[in-house]
């Protein structure tokens, strides 16, 4: 296929947009923690970005997109990007650009996982964990869904990463939080977000970047990209409003609730973006806002300290999105039908893909975190935690 400059232009800028999401996660999370840990939280995202950027070109890409081995993982053919040419007979864009586009998905996924470590992780151990996680959890999951693995073969639809990115990172954050344990003082005194405007900035950049994430996943500048763009926005808006209203009934409608709802809507539409209609996207987003809000309330009541809520928003929002894709996919949009159009098989395939990803991510993360914790110690000392990670891990102060 000849290289198409319009498609290439769109993929180039989409990659840049998605790249911005990794620091955006940092700012989103940074505003939610206490003042003494803001820098640490933002820095984790940057570190993740740098680490995974190198891992991906060295061995991550080939594990995800190398020739399929047993439906589970890619072979090592493209180690160090060996053999990735500048043009390809199958694509209207340069193959290296596809590598870059996929790279930024891997980084942002790892960044979401930092939620579970908030305000208590030892930097050195985190780096080891991150390398292991992206290699042993992200890369296989990317292979399953997009690289020719079993889920793809089974017909499970994941347009832009509902399972690969969100279910995986959300449930991984949960596993991590269980392993590292609660922050000192959690439950005894309030730990309020210390920089809400920073979180709002992160949310704005995430929303902005998500257009590259979802509409870019069309891998073309065409009508599917346009649909993905608009449903992404509509779902986010619906999620923002439904969370806002639901929380209003219970008290004050906080700005954090609103942007959490927007993220919930963005997460849920991610696997569905190229397959559903505008009205469906409103429903998907609105329901996502409600589900994630309910999960957050449950998480709070349960005393679980996964307090930046990657689990309730990305994990549960992603799960809902994967199922919703199986429900709402409309043949008129992209040729795939879901439950509503009578295609039970699609729903089953999507549910299978989602739950398999969930289980794999949760269990393997649990093991990885436990191993790293027992060998290197994932958690800082009590004094370091008290002083804050900014000072104790970075020697810096806001």
């Amino acid at each position: 296929m000849a290289l198409d400059s319009g498609t290439t232009a769109w993929l180039l800028i989409s990659t840049a947009l998605v790249m911005l999401m990794t620091p955006a996660v940092g700012f989103f999370y940074g505003g939610l923690v206490r003042k003494k840990n803001i820098i640490s939280m933002v820095a984790l995202s940057f570190i993740v970005f740098a680490l995974v950027s190198i891992q991906w070109v060295l061995w991550g890409y080939t594990l995800a997109f190398g020739p399929d081995i047993g439906g589970f993982i890619g072979g090592l053919q493209y180690l160090g990007l060996e053999g990735i040419g500048t043009t390809s007979p199958d694509a209207a864009y340069p193959p290296l650009l596809f590598v870059a586009f996929q790279l930024v998905f891997a980084t942002v996924t790892m960044a979401i996982v930092t939620s579970g470590f908030a305000e208590r992780v030892r930097l050195s151990a985190f780096i080891v964990f991150a390398l292991l996680w992206t290699t042993l959890v992200y890369d296989p999951l990317a292979h399953w869904a997009w690289g020719g693995g079993w889920a793809m073969a089974f017909g499970s639809l994941d347009f832009a990463g509902g399972t690969v990115v969100h279910i995986s990172s959300g449930f991984a954050a949960l596993a991590v939080a269980l392993v590292v344990g609660k922050r000192a003082g959690f439950g005894q005194y309030t730990m309020e977000p210390s920089n809400i405007p920073m979180t709002l900035l992160g949310a704005a950049l995430l929303w902005f970047g998500w257009f590259g994430f979802n509409a870019g996943s069309a891998l073309a500048a065409n009508d599917i990209a346009a649909t993905a763009f608009l449903v992404t926005n509509t779902s986010a808006a619906a999620g923002a409003l439904s969370w806002l209203l639901a929380s209003w009934v219970r008290g004050k409608p906080s700005s954090l609730g609103m942007v959490s709802g927007a993220i919930a809507g963005l997460v849920a539409i991610t696997p569905a973006a190229g397959f559903v209609t505008i009205p469906a996207s409103i429903i998907i987003g609105a329901v996502a806002g409600l589900i994630c809000y309910a999960c957050l309330l449950w998480r709070q009541k349960s005393g679980l300290d996964e307090s930046l809520d990657a689990w309730s928003i990305h994990g549960m929002g992603g799960l809902w999105g994967a199922l919703a894709t199986g429900i709402f996919a409309a043949a008129a949009v992209n040729g795939y039908s879901g439950l509503i159009e009578g295609n039970v098989q699609q729903f089953i395939a999507n549910a299978a893909g989602a739950f398999a990803a969930l289980a794999y991510a949760f269990i393997v993360t649990l093991i990885l975190a436990k191993v790293v914790d027992m060998t290197l110690g994932l958690r800082v000392s009590e004094e370091e935690e008290y002083v804050g990670l900014d000072l104790s891990q970075h020697g810096e102060r806001v």
């Binding site: 005194y189 309030t190 004094e383 370091e384 008290y386 002083v387 000072l391």
Partner: protein, 108 residues
């Protein structure tokens, strides 16, 4: 008397509640940074150690009638205590006169 307490920020909530139970509501607070006789906290890491000089604290000023000073001090002391280094200090400072701006009246 002005009871000037320098406490852990995370104990403020308790201190406030306990004072409230005793009917003491008025107070003024602010964020400060302090170090005690231990000269802050020393962290060790690979390749060196690092002294964190100034630790964030909350300063609470409560002005009460002289006869309430002791009780107020007791309440704050109990509510702010964790038993670990860094719990802070309480200083009692004399107040010669005290006024309410709204009414202009002198308070006891």
């Amino acid at each position: 008397m002005m009871i000037k307490a320098i406490i852990r920020p995370e104990r403020l909530e308790f201190v406030k509640q306990e004072l409230e139970k005793a009917g003491i509501n008025g107070m003024t607070i602010r964020e400060v940074q302090g170090r005690g006789d231990q000269k802050g906290i020393t962290l060790t890491y690979r390749g060196g150690k690092m002294n964190v000089d100034f630790i964030p604290k909350t300063m609470v000023d409560v002005v009460v009638a002289d006869e309430m000073a002791e009780k107020t001090t007791e309440i704050i002391m109990k509510a702010a205590r964790t038993g670990k280094v860094g719990d802070g200090r309480i200083f009692i400072i004399p107040v010669v006169r005290s006024f309410r701006i709204r009414t202009g009246e002198e308070v006891q």
